[in-house]
Symmetry: C2
Subunit: 379 residues, 2 copies
């Protein structure tokens, strides 16, 4: 393995497939034990071999963040797809085309106006869209609060408009802001209870609500019981990253994505090695900046992936990164330690953002060979 | 124009070509008046029609940040190319292939080890590489200080190694940290004087130094005289952005890049409109965070591009953005002001980073039609 990593062009996004498979198996085993279906979010990777590994392990259906993801994965044979971003009316023809081709596409909405737009378009086209209502369990972003008056109005607008009200879904995005097991268990229970409560309110009003879908990587890994929930969604768990390390749901040795880089120069007086992984390769994501440990633009590792304690990617321009000591201490032997041409790997703040900078992953297979796994960009 | 902007898929990266051409003409006229060649940095756009407009206006040669950029632009007929990132020895075969095809590719280095690696490879392959020495004028990143002892050693290693020492180049990246005309003029003069001084030292030692190349968008626009300089480089000036606005070298009405987005929901109690431009469309660049005015993830404008004072993209998840009042004040009429389906435009923090998130720009032509201009990704 080490020899091929010395030959690859840099910068490159490496996937450690042994770690990836372990992450997939860990999550699926948890979901199986909790008695829920698992619907991974493919926005993290936008990469077919990764989704195939998730499905092979037991995932049922996928979650997407764009209709382009839905189109690409449906073309590869994935039928059961949740589009988990509030439906923009102008995109309804694109969703219709997918359903007409046989895609079991589910939409979401959180407003009467949104529900009416879907119903109106569906009726005009003779299409019964399956729609889930987005629930806001933590004030993080979108959705209707579990006790919100609008919940029943939206449900009725869908059903009376002739659409299929398929269920409710929530994403406790605020879980990323916590870093203790207790806090994560609490937010997981809040996500569960709020979403189940919304489902109960719909059912009590005589409305259907078959699916109760929740999830984020931290809550999926923290939940102790999922009574009333039918499925869980999570995305970044497949690779993990330094933000998830700080949240407390993985170790650095679980992080399956790293950026391979080459030393191209030094500023010895400053203790800097200059590498060819800048923000274009790492992304501008500084998600650990406000967490308990700030990893700069990433944790520096040797070429085998072993972290080099105390060395961070402390700065980044477009195609230049600065490797230096975390504590800002001088490092008079920086050029001897990392001569020009040295290969290093950098663990990212946020796997979704770092992956998006690359047209493909280089997937290191268990026996050491390297496969190119394409990922796609855009909308 | 307005009607076609209502039909485009969102999010999308829009280029106002009238503003772009004005930015190109302004910079070229400055360079002509200062009596220097202009070599635009195409890393900002990675887009052929933009580079063609720069060359048509008078640019001579281009600057690139990756060899992929060199390959793509050379394939389209651009011969004179400066690869302005310190040469990694492992990439020398790629550079050789370009030169063998007739590309007038220039490399840079800032160390004896780097110079020796180039010379050794060049001699082994029978190729005389043109190499420029990178000068550090402001402690920003890479390069040899103008008075650094290594300067002459690197020059001799190149010449004695049989390579063509073509000149010196510097990039005063610290100019981005200033925001007054006086400070920008000072850093521009520092960049000029340091680079010219390095050239003089090389020449005094009997070494050739035909080219003296400097530049960054702020210093290029601030320099009052460029005695001794032969060419200037700049990249982001072609689109400008909110960081450059804060630096003080453009107005918001010069910013030629914006992201077109659609309102998909609201959180009325919080005064939020949710839009479909998240960080995937804007990038995670928060370059204005430490500047005199923090624009969040971007300045919100109406669909025609007119800024809506007081409204920012205050938060961003992968495919969700939050539009809210800049001052955090409530906005009880947010849903009436921006109903679901409303089209908005968002000015970016950093045009290089935002463009990189998109596979193409949608270029609005002067008469209102929209062309798709592809850009490329990766290394």
């Amino acid at each position: 393995m080490a020899s091929s990593l010395h030959d690859l062009d840099t910068p490159a996004a490496l996937v450690d497939t042994v770690r990836m498979q372990r992450n997939i198996d860990r999550m699926q085993a948890r979901m199986d034990a909790l008695g829920v279906r698992f619907r991974p979010h493919v926005k993290t990777t936008k990469c077919l071999p990764v989704a195939q590994a998730q499905i092979a392990a037991g995932a049922r259906g996928i979650t997407v963040s764009t209709l382009k993801e839905a189109e690409r994965f449906f073309a590869e044979g994935v039928r059961d797809i949740l589009y988990a971003v509030g439906m923009a009316p102008a995109r309804l023809p694109q969703a219709l085309a997918l359903r007409r081709q046989g895609c079991d596409l589910k939409l979401i909405t959180d407003s009467v106006a949104g529900a009416q737009a879907i119903a109106e378009f569906g009726r005009a086209q003779g299409e019964v869209f399956e729609v889930w209502i987005e629930i806001d369990v933590d004030g993080h972003r979108s959705g209707i609060p579990p006790e919100g008056a609008a919940l029943l109005d939206v449900g009725r607008a869908l059903v009376e408009g002739g659409m299929h009200l398929g269920g409710v879904m929530a994403h406790a995005g605020s879980s990323y802001e916590h870093d203790t097991p207790e806090a994560l268990r609490r937010i997981a229970e809040q996500e569960r209870a709020g979403t189940v409560r919304a489902a109960e309110r719909l059912r009590a009003a005589g409305l259907p609500c078959a699916v109760v879908s929740v999830g984020s990587t931290p809550t999926a890994l923290a939940a102790e019981a999922l009574g009333g929930v039918t499925e869980v969604r999570a995305g970044v768990y497949v690779f993990f990253d330094l933000v998830m390390h700080n949240v407390g749901v993985c170790g650095t040795d679980d992080i399956a994505l790293s950026v391979l880089t080459t030393v191209i120069g030094h500023q010895e007086e400053k203790g800097w090695a200059i590498v060819d992984a800048g923000w274009m390769a790492m992304s501008r994501d500084r998600g650990t900046q406000k967490q308990r440990r700030d990893f700069g633009f990433g944790q520096v590792c040797d070429v085998s992936g072993q972290p080099l304690p105390g060395f961070l990617l402390s700065g980044a321009n477009q195609e230049h990164g600065i490797v230096s000591r975390e504590d800002g201490a001088p490092c008079p032997d920086i050029a001897q330690r990392f001569p020009v041409g040295t290969r290093l790997r950098v663990l990212p703040n946020h796997a979704c953002a770092t992956g998006a900078q690359h047209p493909h992953y280089l997937a290191i297979q268990p026996e050491g060979s390297v496969l190119s796994w394409p990922r796609f960009q855009g909308w």
